[in-house]
């Protein structure tokens, strides 16, 4: 019996929803990162961020492959032929790429979250998830080092770099709570030891982030009004991102290789 068959129907559909959310975060963030290709402030960073974008899109594929084991869905179909209303990414990752400070801050916050998430998923009772998490976790060590380095350098650099980072923090902070907002099926996944406790995950991520910001002389904004709504609510930014990201696949839907 495969690992997927051991889950009852309720757990299967809860896990499909969770995997879709995780994959969409990675896919949309990876695409936003890829928008810097050819435009990064340094040639070396251009290569580094393109590499990270590929890694994040690779992580999306890990989660979509795991979903495919459960419901037979096709990862390419999900990535390139779903409409905006069916995406389940957090708003944070779809926001336009902004300046380098915004891009690095978003990447840092997501890397901190992903590092803590993957650390917990490595001990998931659902083996395919634990194995995929172990694979992605290796790359995440490097991603976090890279984005954390930039947070420190921008915060302690010039007035300009610090102002830009502060503005980015104000822009992004209202969206951060969405990262651990539970989906309806998450409680069941948690009871089955498949996915972590969101409250405990939040505490771990916020502990890590607050310490890094404090070390750089920054504080999380206290007056941010959390963005309401769940992962099914998106902004115009995601519409235009999908038009761009899906255009090649949709131009020739029957193509067998590209």
């Amino acid at each position: 019996m495969s690992d997927a068959n051991r889950l009852d129907a309720k757990l299967q559909s809860a896990l499909v929803a969770r995997l879709t959310a995780m994959a969409d975060d990675e896919l949309i963030l990876g695409h936003r990162d890829s928008e810097w290709t050819g435009h990064a402030p340094l040639l070396e960073e251009d290569i580094a961020l393109a590499n990270i974008a590929q890694d994040e899109i690779g992580h999306a594929l890990l989660w979509l492959d795991a979903r495919s084991e459960l419901d037979g869905s096709d990862p390419d179909e999900l990535a390139f032929f779903r409409d905006v209303g069916a995406f389940r990414n957090v708003r944070m990752v779809e926001l336009p790429k902004g300046d380098w400070a915004f891009t690095m801050l978003r990447q840092y916050l997501f890397d901190a979250y992903e590092t803590e998430l993957l650390g917990r998923l490595r001990t998931s009772s659902y083996r395919p998830l634990a194995e995929a998490a172990a694979k992605a976790a290796k790359e995440e060590v490097f991603h976090l080092r890279h984005s954390a380095l930039w947070i420190e350098r921008l915060a302690l650099g010039t007035d300009e770099s610090r102002n830009r980072l502060t503005r980015a923090l104000q822009r992004i902070w209202p969206y951060i709570l969405q990262l651990w907002q539970p989906l309806p099926g998450d409680a069941a996944l948690q009871r089955a030891g498949i996915a972590p406790d969101p409250a405990e995950l939040e505490e771990a991520v916020m502990g890590r982030v607050s310490a890094a910001l404090a070390a750089a002389g920054l504080e999380p904004p206290t007056d941010a009004i959390p963005h309401p709504g769940g992962r099914d609510r998106h902004g115009e930014a995601l519409v235009s991102l999908l038009i761009d990201m899906q255009s090649v696949a949709r131009a020739d839907p029957g193509v067998e290789a590209w």
Binding site: H39, P41, L42, E44, E45, D55, W100, F142, W258
Partner: protein
């Protein structure tokens, strides 16, 4: 490209040394621009190890690398004037072959000397064979290494990235041809 560039520009240049496997020497593979040593190591990882195998990286500020060719040594003995100063450790690199397409300058060992010129003289004595075409010496305290504890995270992932390999794209054209002929693949 320049619109987002910080006023400070692209930062100093760093020479990058890559070790392909344990037991092999670190080899000079090129350079990166970066603001500091840690940033230089991260950039080196992205630029020089995405596809090729690697187990360790070193970086050193380009201005800390003293380089001299065999021709310079033969033509001009001013290089050998004693620099003076404190005895310190230098890492020694040498190029011994023109055979390969890249300019490999391999790590060969270490000497203690009062300055870079004296270090080259000591290196010639310590490592006479095979004859060197060029020597590089770098003060040991100017060199920074990728963290050994994170080697897996830095270098393993490149190994399973088929889509990063040029060869992974080789089959696309034949597949498309099959389809246009109505082939059943």
């Amino acid at each position: 490209m320049a619109s987002h560039a910080p006023q400070a520009g692209e930062g100093p240049r760093w020479e990058v040394f890559k070790q392909d496997a344990l037991g092999k020497p670190h080899q000079a593979v090129g350079s990166v621009h970066a603001g500091d040593a840690e940033h230089a190591l991260l950039m080196a990882r992205s630029v020089y190890t995405r596809r090729p195998a690697a187990v360790s990286l070193w970086v050193a500020p380009a201005e800390a690398v003293f380089a001299v060719t065999a021709e310079q040594l033969a033509d001009d003995d001013r290089w050998s004037v004693e620099d003076g100063g404190q005895e310190r450790r230098f890492l020694v690199f040498r190029k011994t072959s023109h055979r390969r397409s890249m300019t490999f300058v391999d790590h060969v060992g270490e000497v203690t000397a009062a300055g870079p010129r004296a270090a080259v003289a000591a290196a010639r004595q310590a490592f006479p064979e095979p004859p060197a075409l060029a020597w590089w010496v770098v003060p040991a305290d100017r060199l920074s290494a990728s963290p050994d504890a994170e080697a897996e995270a830095w270098f393993d992932p490149a190994g399973d990235k088929t889509y990063k390999q040029q060869s992974a794209y080789g089959l696309l054209a034949p597949k498309k041809r099959d389809r246009s002929k109505g082939g059943d693949r």
